[in-house]
């Protein structure tokens, strides 16, 4: 009888823990969804218009500094990718690829597109979904205005983002504004930055599609340089000089 009670207590405890975990996640996601929807609605006609103020908050969770021509947002480190590879560098937390990305952000990727465009930048949207099965040798590459990505966190001044992303071998770092607004909105994959060319990423490291395919180049977060899993960092994007 005692054993039955012990087991019942053990299972009840595990159930309560898992329900608590799921509950908090669901609650926060509901709140965030509401905020995200409100934010999207509020943008209204302002989307794509040049920002006049030095710093504006026209987009939820994105800070656009028109004077200094920079966009910044917060992102959370996903420690899974300290040891596992991913081609998704930064993804909107509600996007389909959120759990597969190195950094998750509450900034919506379509807002990010609009913010980049508001700085006078443009992407060519020249890679289609059909191109995504191309091999690296086919050299299908996104083109658009060149961008520079930086990262900082508590106790660490701004450094280039590629300094905290390791490759399985040396790799080129050449980020461009890919465009892809329609595909991004349609697929809701959520990608703000992909590590190689892509049909859905707003910005990409302009390596050919297929670079990260099976047996290809692999990318990891650098655990030795970054703070621990779950830490918040700030990402800053500027037009490349």
């Amino acid at each position: 009888m005692k054993m039955k009670k012990l087991a019942a207590l053990f299972m009840a405890g595990a159930l309560v823990l898992s329900l608590a975990a799921c509950g908090s996640s669901a609650d926060s996601s509901t709140d965030e969804n509401t905020e995200a929807n409100a934010g999207t609605k509020d943008q209204g006609d302002g989307v794509g218009e040049p920002q006049e103020e030095n710093t504006t908050a026209a987009y939820d969770n994105l800070t656009v500094d028109a004077k200094n021509r920079e966009i910044s947002f917060e992102a959370v480190i996903n420690g899974t990718y300290f040891t596992e590879p991913s081609r998704h560098a930064i993804v909107w937390e509600k996007g389909g690829n959120a759990d597969k990305s190195m950094f998750r952000t509450s900034a919506y990727n379509v807002d990010f597109y609009d913010a980049l465009e508001s700085l006078g930048l443009s992407g060519d949207s020249n890679v289609s979904m059909d191109d995504m099965s191309a091999a690296a040798e086919d050299h299908v590459v996104n083109t658009g205005d060149a961008l520079a990505y930086y990262i900082k966190w508590d106790g660490q001044d701004e450094i280039m983002l590629n300094e905290v992303i390791k490759g399985s071998e040396d790799y080129d770092w050449d980020v461009v504004f890919a465009g892809n607004r329609d595909v991004a909105e349609e697929t809701q994959a959520g990608c703000l930055l992909c590590m190689d060319s892509c049909a859905a990423g707003i910005t990409v490291n302009a390596l050919p599609v297929g670079t990260t395919g099976d047996g290809g180049l692999q990318f990891f977060l650098d655990e030795e340089k970054l703070p621990e899993d779950g830490s918040t960092v700030t990402i800053i994007v500027r037009p490349a000089a």
């Binding site: 054993m3 799921c22 996640s25 996903n78 899974t80 040891t83 597969k100 692999q218 779950g230």
Partner: protein
């Protein structure tokens, strides 16, 4: 209580399937491996409990220990010690839609489950065998 062994012993089987799927970059990038783990755990536990009910499988502490050791060896061969501390925890975290739960906390929970679970199985085994020897 009789079927706790089914729940306990199917954990390493389900985790073996999940970590094998996670190993595939293609699958890992497209599928929530947490769902694979929880789904397999449920199915394996039901199958195991059914087999126990039909008495076609006999389990005890030794079976559970060997079962667990085989899983740990398989995981170590597949991932090595460093990745082993992240991958199972990451699978469990992804499956419950959690993003801020620390890997260390999940690993401690897994360890606690394995240890306390084994103790429960051990005590139950002693109780059953003790009862039989007194009859």
């Amino acid at each position: 209580m009789k079927y706790f062994g089914a729940l306990y012993n199917s954990f390493p089987w389900a985790m073996s399937v999940a970590i094998t799927c996670f190993r595939s970059m293609w699958l890992q990038m497209r599928v929530n491996t947490g769902y694979i783990f929880y789904g397999c755990w449920l199915v394996f536990a039901i199958l195991f409990a059914t087999a126990m009910k039909r008495k076609s499988i006999k389990t005890g502490p030794l079976f559970s220990v060997i079962n667990m050791l085989i899983w740990i060896s398989y995981a170590l061969v597949l991932y090595g010690w460093e990745r082993m501390q992240i991958v199972p925890a990451s699978i469990i975290r992804e499956g419950i839609g959690q993003r801020v739960l620390k890997f260390a906390v999940i690993n401690q929970t897994i360890f606690g489950f394995l240890l306390i679970g084994l103790l429960i199985i051990l005590v139950e085994y002693w109780r059953e065998n003790g009862n039989k020897s007194h009859r």
